[in-house]
């Protein structure tokens, strides 16, 4: 494909990716709706997120059709951000562990929900929220 023509592709691929993004978003929402918890929740949410992000960048933003010189300029630099994320994860765990161990913070504290605060018109919901926090 020459540069003059720009990024022109058959419409079909856009419709397919568009549909796929809807399906993946529905799956993400279903994870929350059906209250999946723990490692399964993390795994599924991150999987659907990565797939959605990948399809948007590759197809909608046309990166898959760009020349390698531009692709590396776009995708290369953000890799260093993984170092920042890694460092902050280690640091964050260290800080909270120090607070639990040496400052006596309560590791079993439970967050309140709007139901707890507004008189609980939906008593069932409040119970359900407490389960979720554990």
């Amino acid at each position: 494909m020459s540069a003059e023509a720009g990024q022109q592709h058959p419409l079909g691929i856009y419709y397919k990716i568009w549909t796929l993004l809807f399906v993946l978003s529905s799956f993400s929402y279903a994870v929350d709706y059906f209250n999946v918890q723990g490692g399964m929740r993390w795994g599924l949410v991150l999987l659907f997120m990565a797939l959605k992000a990948g399809f948007i960048v590759a197809i909608f933003m046309h990166v898959v059709w760009e020349r390698m010189a531009l692709v590396l300029t776009i995708l290369g630099p953000p890799i260093v951000l993984l170092v920042l994320i890694g460092l902050m994860t280690v640091e964050g765990f260290y800080t909270s562990q120090a607070r639990y161990q040496y400052m006596g913070h309560d590791p079993n504290a439970v967050a309140l929900t709007p139901n707890d605060l507004h008189g609980g018109e939906h008593g069932e919901g409040a119970e359900h929220a407490e389960e979720e926090a554990h």
């Binding site: 022109q8 856009y14 993004l21 659907f48 531009l70 964050g92």
Partner: protein, 221 residues
């Protein structure tokens, strides 16, 4: 752009970067938009990493997003429903934008204009729902950047900073898209070419991309 490097099928990354002339064989506006988007990636990732760090280090329990962002349509509250609707609106707008780019290159001015206008309208409704969400949290639930009645006080600051900065991007995008759309309609790009629609599209898809990460990390996890 009748460069030797681009017409030659075997030209490689090394040729592009060692030609002493032009590394990126795209319109300059598009290269600059990509540079801007890469720098914006750093800003949003820094915000999300800041969120990661306070969320890990705080010993106060983190508020349950699923309950806080639930919305009731007469019956029992449906968890996170408003955020789900906002996600679908943004994806719909990304699709209409992709079509606008395609029709731009086909030089179909009418369709390009209408698909861009539709994209901007979806973007505006997204911002409208965000205003609703913010006012509900501030006025009804009493969430503030320095505290909230549910749990960890950092919840408010993270929420307002990240969704606020994203909302600002959407608002700027709506203005940008409308500007380009009206120029397309007037035939402003007949001679210059329709790359501008693709460049505006890159920005819009990026805003959608950032939302994918906010939706996962802030609302779902």
């Amino acid at each position: 752009m009748s460069d030797a490097a681009i017409s030659e099928p075997n030209s490689t990354l090394v040729d592009d970067w060692s030609a002493d002339k032009q590394a990126y064989h795209v319109p300059w506006g598009k290269a600059m938009m990509w540079i801007f988007l890469v720098s914006d990636t750093f800003i949003f990732t820094s915000f999300l990493t800041g969120y990661l760090h306070v969320r890990l280090s705080t010993t106060e329990p983190w508020p349950l997003q699923s309950e806080i962002f639930a919305l009731s349509f007469g019956g029992d509250p449906i968890p996170l429903i408003l955020i789900a609707i906002m996600t679908f609106i943004l994806i719909t707008s990304s699709g209409t934008m992709a079509l606008a780019v395609n029709f731009g290159y086909r030089r179909d001015k009418q369709k390009t204009f209408w698909f861009m206008a539709a994209t901007a309208a979806f973007g505006a409704s997204f911002v409208g729902m965000q205003v609703f969400e913010w006012s509900k949290l501030i006025l009804e639930e009493g969430v503030r950047p320095w505290g909230n009645p549910f749990g960890a006080s950092q919840f408010g600051s993270v929420f307002f900073m990240i969704t606020g900065f994203h909302g600002l991007h959407v608002t700027a995008g709506v203005i940008y898209l409308l500007t380009v759309a009206f120029k397309v309609k007037k035939g402003h790009y007949d001679k210059k070419g329709y790359e501008i629609v693709e460049i505006a599209g890159l920005y819009w898809h990026f805003v959608d991309l950032v939302w994918v990460f906010i939706f996962a990390f802030f609302y779902l996890l």
